[in-house]
């Protein structure tokens, strides 16, 4: 299976630097963005499978970002990493962002964080059970089926 890619979004570069260091040996590609806008740019240029975002960021909030991702890249598994834990934040994250997991800050890298990211990748793989050869097959057969798959984001070609 191709290596999966996880995009981390936080306006605090310290958080990103700490994640970068802590996740060095984890078996997936890591991308980092300090704003929602930057994250969307990265999504345009890279194939991303899991997104982990802060909620409270200037300009574009995590929720706004999640909603865009949900609409434009529905196959990407959405996770929140946030210290701003209030009932309303949690409710909007689940009900409007349709997130898979919510990690609270400060986080425990070994016990919590790494496991959640791995579970999210597994979730992605479960939802997109295809192997590379199936993706090729889809590409080679532009039938109705493959078009629908594309719409749902089920196919990564």
């Amino acid at each position: 299976m191709e290596t999966r890619t996880v995009l981390f979004v936080d306006d605090e570069s310290k958080v990103l630097a700490s994640l970068k260091r802590g996740l060095l040996d984890e078996p997936y590609n890591k991308l980092f963005a300090t704003s929602g806008k930057e994250a969307l740019e990265l999504l345009k240029q890279n194939e991303v499978h899991v997104i982990v975002t802060d909620m409270r960021m200037p300009e574009m909030s995590g929720l706004e970002l999640l909603k865009i991702v949900r609409r434009e890249y529905p196959h990407i598994v959405r996770v929140v990493l946030s210290g701003y834990t209030q009932i309303t934040t949690l409710l909007t994250a689940i009900n409007q962002g349709e997130i898979f997991k919510f990690i609270t800050k400060p986080w425990k890298l070994e016990e919590d964080f790494k496991g959640v990211v791995r579970e999210s990748i597994e979730r992605y793989n479960l939802q997109n059970k295809q192997t590379a050869s199936e993706a090729q097959l889809t590409a080679a057969q532009p039938s109705d089926t493959s078009e629908k798959m594309q719409e749902e984001g089920g196919t990564q070609t």
């Binding site: 209030q86 009932i87 919510f102 097959l137 889809t138």
Partner: protein
């Protein structure tokens, strides 16, 4: 498409009755359970597509019930419908119950409520379609491989 079925779980009978009344005209089957244990028995004998459960119930909690559903019936879309709202309850519902939505109580059976259930059913349908397509693709691939071998 076969008619979809939604299972509502709440130890408060008044809540179940109010749901029954409020959702009478909705185009899906409704099944009601007073406990997690009852709900599990219903799941054994019926095809259920969406569960909507309270969190705070005696004996089996909503979270316990959700975890069993997630484990044994992973395709069923899970919704929490609860008034016992604390940060930790919500966090465990999301992270351990892997829920699709959380509807806070008090609530009304209004258009918003109906829309959430409708969306959950659409979500179920989308997942089902995707799984079917993947199965078709795999079959096609197997056939293609077979042909390549015979050549």
């Amino acid at each position: 498409m076969e008619k979809r079925t939604v299972l509502f779980v709440d130890d408060d009978e008044i809540v179940l009755m109010s749901l029954q009344r409020g959702l009478r005209d909705e185009p899906y089957n409704k099944v009601f359970a007073r406990s997690g244990k009852d709900a599990l028995r219903i799941l054994k004998d019926n095809d259920v597509h969406v569960v909507v459960t309270d969190m705070r119930m005696p004996e089996m909690s909503g979270l316990e019930f959700l975890k069993i559903v997630k484990q044994n019936y992973p395709n069923i879309v899970r919704i929490v419908f609860s008034g016992y709202i604390q940060v930790t309850t919500l966090l465990t519902a999301i992270n351990q119950g892997e829920i699709y939505r959380y509807i806070p109580k008090p609530w009304k059976v209004d258009d918003d409520f109906k829309a959430v259930i409708q969306q959950a059913m659409e979500y179920y349908n989308l997942n089902e379609q995707r799984d079917m397509m993947i199965a078709q693709l795999m079959e096609l691939q197997a056939q293609t491989n077979g042909k390549i071998k015979s050549v």
